[in-house]
Amino acid sequence: MTKRLEPHIAIETQDLGRSFKTYSKSEGILASLRGFWDRKYEERVALAPTNLRIESGQIIGLVGANGAGKTTFLKLLSGLIHPSSGTAQVLGYSPWERKPEFLSQIALLLGQKNQLWWDLSPMDSFALLTEIYDKDAALSRKRLAMLAEILACGHVLKTQLRRLSLGERMKMEIIGALLHEPKILFLDEPTIGLDIVAQTSIRNFLVEYVKLQGPTVILTSHYMDDIAMLADRLLLISKGQFVYDGTVDSFVAKTEQKQKISFSLAAPLDQDFQINPQIFLKAGEQEFSFSVLGHELPPALAKVAAFPQVHNIRIEEVDFEDVIHSFLEKESRVLSPGHSESP
């Protein structure tokens, strides 16, 4: 059933939710036997009933810890799985009906998976995709040339996929996903596992592509840089619930970026040492690691550097998961069903 959406709304969900029944398996023979006719089912909520409206042309950054529900959400919107509750309209279609007219307007990119053939050159795989999407061959070739130029990978179009580097392969997968001019892009971890150069290259491409073609994009990523550079709107999901819906800037402002300092000493510390009012280094230890807020870094670093015979000083950005965790600790506000914020 297709519902008439307001023209500028590409995606709309009403109480869209998904849970899985798993049965808890106990240890031991007796418990297993008992479990044979008396199964205790647990309901695991992958996505709590959600109401969202996404306008055409918006770039949504969807972030969350592993298992938070990002992929479930994407799979629901792309029609791969059925919801347990609620409805959704994507481009006016109900995704899980999987109508060909709907499917030819969306693209799904799964970061770790290849849709292109391993033994073919990307060029040959693209010819196949052109046929699958029933596109005009000449137009498709023109489009390919344009995309390859922006991604600067035209020189390897005729090389077999398995001979390409990971970054080049990802670029080809992206072209493959965009070849049929989809109106909606679902990008699941597009830069995962790539080196910095490839990541930057792909990010820049996406910025340019979005400017040119104006698709609606939902992008999931572990890398804050992906989101910061591309997304108009940030959705943070935790344990199946959307806990933040706003701009990237206000999210960054709400979370204070911490830095982790680690170092080791040539000899164990002879007495306790204070870095700042919250952080103490214990006597008798040699390896140390602690996190400080951005503005606390210089004085902390100065104190560490003042130690005689200090080695292996490392400064790292705190894991993104920790950023989310600290955000959740600070903000216990949850977006309730029936209430959604759009900037």
Binding site: I81, H82, W96, P100, L103, K113, D119, S125, L128, D134
Partner: protein, 270 residues
């Protein structure tokens, strides 16, 4: 209107199949050694089948209902149907389980094309075309040795050959699907091959209940026994109609089962 749509869909899928063929051929060219080894392997397999029957006929005039010339025709049909199956479906169905378990199915499901079609037909073993040539040559030669054949016989043969290929496809598909459900891929595949072997011998040699079984529940009898009858014996229209109907029925059943499986998949995956 509906007819036009059907025609359009058929044209689209035909074009797509041709695209699969082209892509598979290019991919197969990479492995030139494969062309040769597959031909050698299958030639030995053909030789083994021929060898078995020829030796048996040294000691008898008839095997089941047929003499040596007729049995050779039967074998020719076995080779041709087997070759078509190996070219069109074998690789795809062999990989079905692994690709589903690896999660590759998702990428197929978002395409605006039948997922069953993609899964079953995408990869074509063009390296086996040589075998099809050999099998066809043997078939034509053995038919030429027969004293009398009519055009009607040949026509029926041409109709029933695709039924054989499709019946094998459906059976193999069902076996692969059950291997997925019962996660016993190897044993199920072994069982499949043993049942397939039953179809490699003329159905007339089996006891009545087994013969019935291979023409109904496990229709490996469609592979060669029934098509061979079309050309070796007076037309048995009842039997031929049965084959046609049952093949169509199997295709519908397979398609229904696939859709059911997809529903389960989309309700179960996490």
């Amino acid at each position: 209107m509906r007819l036009a749509r059907l025609r359009f869909t058929l044209q689209k899928y035909l074009r797509l199949y041709f695209a699969f063929f082209r892509a598979s051929f290019v991919a197969d060219l990479e492995f030139r050694a494969n062309f040769i080894t597959r031909i050698i392997t299958d030639v030995i397999w053909y030789a083994a089948q021929i060898f078995t029957f020829e030796v048996l006929f040294l000691h008898t005039n008839k095997l089941g209902d047929w003499n040596v010339d007729q049995t050779r025709v039967f074998l020719g049909i076995v080779f041709v149907v087997d070759a078509f199956y190996m070219i069109m479906f074998h690789d795809n169905l062999d990989r079905m389980n692994t690709s589903i378990r690896k999660g590759d199915l998702d990428l197929l499901l978002v395409k605006p094309v039948s997922s069953q079609f993609m899964l079953s037909c995408q990869r074509i073993s063009t390296a086996m075309i040589g075998n099809l040539g050999i099998g066809t040559a043997w078939l034509i030669w053995s038919i030429a040795q027969l004293p009398d054949i009519s055009w009607l016989n040949l026509l029926w043969l041409l109709v029933l050959l695709p039924c054989g290929v499709l019946a094998v496809y459906c059976l193999r598909f069902l076996f692969s699907a059950s291997a997925l459900i019962f996660t016993q891929a190897e044993s199920v595949m072994y069982l499949w091959y043993q049942i397939y072997r039953l179809g490699l011998r003329p159905d007339s040699i089996y006891v009545p209940w087994l013969r019935f079984a291979i023409l109904t529940i496990m229709p490996v009898g469609f592979i060669a026994s029934v098509p061979a009858r079309a050309i070796l014996e007076p037309a048995s229209y009842g039997l031929f109609a049965w084959v046609l109907l049952w093949t169509v029925g199997l295709m519908i059943f397979t398609s229904w089962l696939w859709r059911l499986g997809l529903k389960k998949y989309s309700s179960a995956s996490s």
